[in-house]
C-alpha cells in the first residue's frame, strides 16, 4: 500500500536517476521506488488515494469548516436540494448534506478496505509461510483449507456470514478478509517455496538460526514485494465488495453513512433526485479506478517480471 514507498522516500539519495554504466548499485527498494516515481499516472493516482485517506481521517474537520453540516443533521426544509450554494452536492430525502455524508462515508469505505487488506495479509502470510516452509502434511492440510475456502462463491459466503454476525466496521472487514486471505496464502507459499531453495537460507540455518528467525528475518523480506503488489491490487476490489454488501443492507447499517448504503436509500427516490443515485457511485468508481491504476503501477515497479 502506501507505507513502504513513503519509507523509501526518506532514504532517497539527493541525486536523481543516473543512467548508463556509471549508475551506482542501488537497493531493490530504491530501484522500485524510482520506477514507480517515473510512472506519472501511477504517482498521480497514488497521491489521489493519499488525499482521499486524509480527507477521510479529517472528516470531522471538513464537516465543521467546509460543509458546515454533520452527516446526521436532518433538515426537512431542504430535502432533495440540488447541488448548489447551500448544499454543495445537494441533499437527500431527510435534507442531509450529500457531500458531508460522502466524506464520512469515505471513513467507512476506506477504513474497512485497508483493515480488510491488513487482515488478509496477516493471516495469508502466516498460513502461506507455514505451508511453504514446513511442507509435508502441514502444507497439505493448510492448502486444502485454502482450496476449500476459495471454492465457496464469495458473495454467498459473505451473505451467510453477515446474517450470522451482524457486521460493524471491524467484523465486516473480518468477513471479507475470511476469503481474501486464501489468495495471499497461495502467493506467499509459492514465493517461500522458491526462496527456500536459495543458498543464503542454507547458510543462515547452518549457523544455527531458529525457524522463527529464519521466517521473520530472512523469508519475510523476500516475500514483501509480492505482498505489496497483492495489497495495492486488492484495495480496489475490496472497496467494490464492501460497497456492494453495504448496498444490499448486509454491511454497515444506517444511519452511519457509507458509499454503499447511501445508494440503498437513493434507489427509492429515483423520481425525486438523480443526483442521489449518481454521486455515491461516481465516488466509488473514481476511488476504485485510482486504486486499480495505482495498483498496476506498483506491480510494474515492484515486480517487473509480472508486467504484461
Amino acid at each position: 500500500m502506501i507505507g513502504p514507498s513513503r519509507v523509501a522516500e526518506l532514504d532517497m539519495p539527493a541525486a536523481g536517476v543516473e543512467t548508463g554504466a556509471a549508475r551506482p548499485a542501488q537497493s531493490y527498494w530504491n530501484e522500485s521506488w524510482e520506477r514507480l516515481r517515473a510512472n506519472r499516472l501511477g504517482m498521480a493516482t497514488g497521491v489521489l488515494i493519499v488525499v482521499l485517506a486524509l480527507i477521510a481521517i479529517l472528516a470531522p474537520a471538513f464537516s465543521a469548516v467546509v460543509t458546515h453540516y454533520q452527516p446526521q443533521t436532518i433538515d426537512l426544509d431542504s430535502t432533495f436540494a440540488r447541488p448548489g450554494v447551500g448544499h454543495l452536492l445537494g441533499s437527500d430525502e431527510l435534507g442531509r448534506d450529500t457531500l458531508t455524508r460522502l466524506i464520512w462515508g469515505a471513513r467507512v469505505s476506506l477504513g474497512v478496505a485497508f483493515l480488510t487488506v491488513a487482515m488478509s495479509l496477516f493471516l495469508g502470510t502466516t498460513v502461506g509461510m507455514m505451508a511453504g516452509y514446513y511442507g509435508g502434511w502441514i502444507d497439505d492440510v493448510l492448502m486444502r483449507l485454502v482450496d476449500t475456502v476459495l471454492a465457496i462463491p464469495a458473495i454467498f459466503l459473505f451473505i451467510l456470514m453477515s446474517i450470522l454476525i451482524r457486521p460493524n466496521a471491524i467484523t465486516l472487514a473480518a468477513i471479507v478478509a475470511s476469503v481474501g486471505w486464501g489468495q495471499v496464502a497461495r502467493l506467499v507459499r509459492g514465493e517461500v517455496l522458491s526462496v527456500k531453495q536459495r543458498d543464503f537460507i542454507l547458510a543462515t540455518r547452518s549457523i544455527g538460526a531458529k525457524d522463527s528467525r529464519l521466517m521473520v528475518r530472512h523469508l519475510l523480506p523476500n516475500v514483501l514485494p509480492v505482498l505489496i503488489v497483492a495489497a495495492s491490487l486488492g484495495v480496489g476490489q475490496i472497496i467494490l465488495i464492501e460497497a456492494a454488501l453495504d448496498f444490499l443492507g448486509l454491511g454497515i447499517q444506517p444511519p452511519t453513512p457509507s458509499w454503499g448504503n447511501m445508494l440503498t436509500n437513493a434507489q427509492s427516490y429515483f423520481f425525486r433526485s438523480g443526483w442521489l443515485v449518481a454521486l455515491p457511485g461516481i465516488t466509488i468508481f473514481m476511488t476504485v479506478l485510482a486504486s486499480n491504476i495505482f495498483g498496476n503501477a506498483v506491480r510494474d515497479a515492484f515486480d517487473p517480471r509480472l508486467k504484461s
Partner: protein, 323 residues
C-alpha cells in the same frame, strides 16, 4: 495417464466438498442457539417451549449426528428445509435456476460476442485511438460497481425515458405481472440486467483476447504465412484468431460457476427472480438453512466447473501433459 489425472482431480474435489460442508456446519453451529435472534428473550416463551422448538428443529442433536444426516440428505438431492416455512430448499433452487441461467447465460454470450471483435481490433491497431478507447473502457469495467451501473441504467432507460413519455425499458423482474411472459416481454426485461453483467465479462475477455492475439501474431508461423503471400485477412482470421481463441475457452470454462453466483447483485438490483435473489431475500429473513443450502449448491457447481475447465484445457490444447 488421463484417467489417473481425472481420478486424482476428482478425489481432490471430494475433499474440498467435505471441507465446505464442515465449514458451513461450523458456521451454523455457532449460531444455532437462537435460530431467530432474540428468541431466548421473548417473554411469551417458557424455557420448555424454547426447548421443544429446538428439538423440533433438530437443534439439540449432537453435531456428528446432525452432520451425518445433512450429508446423507444432500447425497439424495435434498439441500435442507427452510427455517421459515419448512419448504424444501431443493424446490426453491429448481424453481429459480432457469431464470438465473437465462440471465447469466445471455450475459456470458453477449460478453464473448462483443469481446472477440473488440480484442482483435485492439491487437491489430495496437496503439491507435480505438485501442486506447478500448483500454479505457475495460479499465472502467473493472472499477464500476455493478449495482450502481444497474441503478444508472434504470435511471436513464426506465425513469427518465418514462418521464419524457418515450418508450422505456422495464426495470424489475423477468416478465410482466399481467399479460406478460411471452418471448418479447422476457427479452425487454432481460436487456438492462444482461447489459450490466456482460459489460464486466466483455472488459475482462477483450483484454485477454487482445494480448493473446498479439502473442499469436508475433509467432514464426504467422510470418511464414505472410511471407508466402497469404492475404492479410486469411492470416489474421484463419491462422491468428483460431489459435488466439484456444485459451479463451478455458477462461470461459472458469466462468461457469459465475452462471449461478455471478449475477447475485445484479439480480437484486433488477428484482430478477433468480438464485442470487433467493439467497438474498432469505438472508434478510434470517432463513439461514435456505441460504446455506443455496450456498452449498452453488459451491458444488463451482467445483464441478473448475474440474470441467481443467479437463477441457487438456482436450483443447494437446501440449498440456498430465503429470
Amino acid at each position: 495417464m488421463l484417467a489417473k489425472y481425472v481420478a486424482r482431480r476428482f478425489f481432490a474435489s471430494v475433499i474440498v466438498v467435505l471441507g465446505v460442508t464442515a465449514i458451513t456446519l461450523a458456521l451454523m453451529k455457532t449460531t444455532s442457539g437462537s435460530y431467530v435472534p432474540g428468541i431466548d428473550l421473548n417473554p411469551a416463551l417458557r424455557p420448555e417451549d424454547i426447548a421443544r422448538l429446538r428439538s423440533q428443529l433438530g437443534l439439540d442433536l449432537p453435531p456428528q449426528v446432525w452432520y451425518a444426516t445433512w450429508l446423507w440428505n444432500v447425497l439424495h438431492g435434498d439441500f435442507g428445509r427452510s427455517m421459515i416455512d419448512g419448504s424444501r430448499v431443493t424446490d426453491h433452487i429448481l424453481e429459480r435456476l432457469p431464470n438465473t441461467l437465462e440471465l447469466t447465460g445471455t450475459a456470458i454470450l453477449i460478453g464473448v460476442i462483443a469481446a472477440v471483435p473488440l480484442g482483435v481490433v485492439g491487437a491489430l491497431r495496437r496503439g491507435s485511438k480505438s485501442d486506447h478507447a478500448l483500454t479505457v473502457t475495460s479499465v472502467a469495467g473493472f472499477a464500476v460497481p455493478q449495482f450502481w451501473m444497474g441503478l444508472m441504467l434504470i435511471l436513464v432507460f426506465s425513469v427518465t425515458l418514462e418521464q419524457h413519455g418515450l418508450p422505456w425499458l422495464p426495470s424489475s423482474g423477468a416478465y410482466s405481472a399481467f399479460n406478460g411472459g411471452d418471448f418479447l416481454d422476457r427479452l425487454q426485461h432481460l436487456i438492462l440486467p444482461a447489459t450490466v453483467l456482460s459489460f464486466f465479462y466483455m472488459s475482462t475477455w477483450s483484454r485477454f483476447i487482445r494480448s493473446s492475439m498479439l502473442e499469436v501474431l508475433s509467432q514464426d508461423y504467422i510470418r511464414t504465412a505472410r511471407a508466402k503471400g497469404m492475404s492479410e485477412r486469411r492470416v489474421v482470421y484463419l491462422h491468428g484468431l483460431r489459435n488466439a481463441l484456444i485459451p479463451l475457452i478455458t477462461l470461459i470454462g472458469l466462468e461457469l460457476p459465475g452462471l449461478v453466483s455471478g449475477g447475485l447483485v445484479v439480480e437484486v438490483v433488477f428484482g430478477w427472480p433468480g438464485i442470487g435473489k433467493l439467497a438474498f431475500e432469505r438472508a434478510l429473513q434470517y432463513d439461514y438453512t435456505t441460504v446455506m443450502g443455496v450456498t452449498f449448491f452453488a459451491t458444488l457447481l463451482v467445483i464441478a466447473g473448475n474440474l470441467l475447465a481443467d479437463l477441457l484445457y487438456g482436450v483443447l490444447d494437446p501440449r498440456i501433459r498430465y503429470g
